[in-house]
Homo-oligomer: 386 residues x 2
Amino acid sequence: MKDFVFHNPTKIIFGKGRISELGSEVRRTSRKVLLVYGRGSIKKNGVYDQVVDSLRTAGIEFVELPGVKPNPVLSKVHEGVELAKKEKVDGIVAVGGGSTIDTSKTIAAGFYYDGDIWDAFVGRYEVKRSLPIYVVLTLSATGSEMNMGAVITNEETKQKYAFVAPTSYPRVSIIDPSVQFSLPRIQTANGAADAISHVMELYFDGTPDVWIEDEISEGIIRAIIRSTDILMNKPDDYDARANLAWSATLALNGVTRTGRSGGDWSCHAIEHSISALYDIAHGSGLAIVTPAWMKYVYKEDIGKFARFAEKVFGVEESDEERAALEGIERLKNWFKSVGLPTSLEDVGISSTEIDKIVDNAAMRTPFGSLKRLEKEDVREILKLCV
Amino acid sequence: MKDFVFHNPTKIIFGKGRISELGSEVRRTSRKVLLVYGRGSIKKNGVYDQVVDSLRTAGIEFVELPGVKPNPVLSKVHEGVELAKKEKVDGIVAVGGGSTIDTSKTIAAGFYYDGDIWDAFVGRYEVKRSLPIYVVLTLSATGSEMNMGAVITNEETKQKYAFVAPTSYPRVSIIDPSVQFSLPRIQTANGAADAISHVMELYFDGTPDVWIEDEISEGIIRAIIRSTDILMNKPDDYDARANLAWSATLALNGVTRTGRSGGDWSCHAIEHSISALYDIAHGSGLAIVTPAWMKYVYKEDIGKFARFAEKVFGVEESDEERAALEGIERLKNWFKSVGLPTSLEDVGISSTEIDKIVDNAAMRTPFGSLKRLEKEDVREILKLCV
């Protein structure tokens, strides 16, 4: 097990009806907030009203930044930073999923930076200060509600990059699983695929002797699969929503990272190149890329891939290679079973586009820790995605 | 799954040689600390020197409170509170295991209270303020390094009670697994039994549909058993020490409590009555009481006990009752295999003492959530411990 520092200060308030506690939490630090959200679903499902009621009751002023879209973009961040500065807010409330939270984290950092906050994504600026961030989660997927990372697409350069900073941890995140009852099935599945991928990126980074982290990682994946299977037929099953939601948060709150080398993150890197160019859902992209990456690299740590097959899918096969391959197939079939795409063709991306994706990924190669991937490795993996 | 709030602000610094970081961490809040420790083992294994070096390098003054003993007592707390007030310290550094940390947490609270801090243990005072607490862990067992609880024995009244307060979370806990290489085998086993019991107290509290928490709980127990088995033969196996240490911390840092009713805690309550009277190691007491409690209550949630048998010990048995009983037997046998006592006789307590233990426990009955235990239930469980 490797050395680590674990320090996650986010307070999680979890349960039905807990959004009403937002205002009193925000009041600990803020009196006027930027209220960031997406494209209106929260006005249909009642979440917007609950948020506004709670803020008003606590005497919190707010200015609104609606319109954050999936695969959130830098131009929206710029708009938010400008608005936050002009309105002199002293906090941010993010109501939504990962896109809204990540946009909010970036605005919160940009508020205290005179240059273009994109600098934080390309290593030209180290974020040391952010506005306090409060979250009301409406889609369990990215884990951003309890971590310090944010992913944003620069539309001009077609770069979908991340930054991390300890000041980006939300102060408080409210997770009411029941607000996710009304999600379209595919969004639930996308969220599940994203959360599973977070666990896998860490699990398969090649660090040996992390028994407790491996146990927790496998347990999280099993719980996600169990919950998602139920939700495909019964989207308003509270316990399934709650187990999926908390599992997705734990998938990337740092616990599964302890003792490891920091994760492989190749699947995320390749997927980011796809969704930077084609605006497909991140979870769908991961469902396409992950099995292909596994097929390409499993020989680097064949015992671990065999273990994954056994622990996650109950594969009983004494030959390690056959077990590993069977596990990859089972994962792919599970993605299919919950309606996720598993090939580029499934999302309407022709194989003639591979060059473009490879070129985008090549802005950052080499990446990956289990197997260090060069540009040509990425091409081979994408060919397995056809 | 039940509603919950999760908020654990403790920073964990984990790894070999990390004690040198203590001083710079302490300096964030404090200039003169009370240095609390036990009965001298840290002077033999080099930990004391590392701590003192780090504090001196950072320019932190310290006054010493040595002599905390296992099953820590209120009189030592009083001594510490008096010394801390007299010396006007502004922080506490606890170097040791649960006894030292819990003594420190209680002193930290007592520093800001004019009455007897025992009031916090019996519900007469709610702790709202504590001195900042820093921990260097030397024995993985209680999880106190990353939670807000403390257990102290009042020698006069023979009450071994707990208090919890959010201000009791250590600011920073440094866990260097290699300092535990020199522990006597029985102390390692006692720590493992305590950590397993923490998971079980929560796991068996009767809350249904906590799939993710159950997965994590079972994974922690498996990792503890795996690590402990190795350490019995190879006490200086770093990875086994590291996995055991981090598992024991996670066992009671709040994650396994999320979504549940708060735990059953009957085994702890009964054990506290034993170790309040006979000064046996807490972990040993739990190894005696836990299988007996399980036998007495398993019919309340037979499916869960069968699941425990399967998931923790790989019991393959379709009849739930037989599986449940087999799991209890396997746990008891595992305790024996690592040298733990499993009967009162094993620790030299005669069955004629049961009345005394029952009377002590009766100061707090009824307790327990899976099965509410009255005084006579405690007697029946103790009879199963003979």
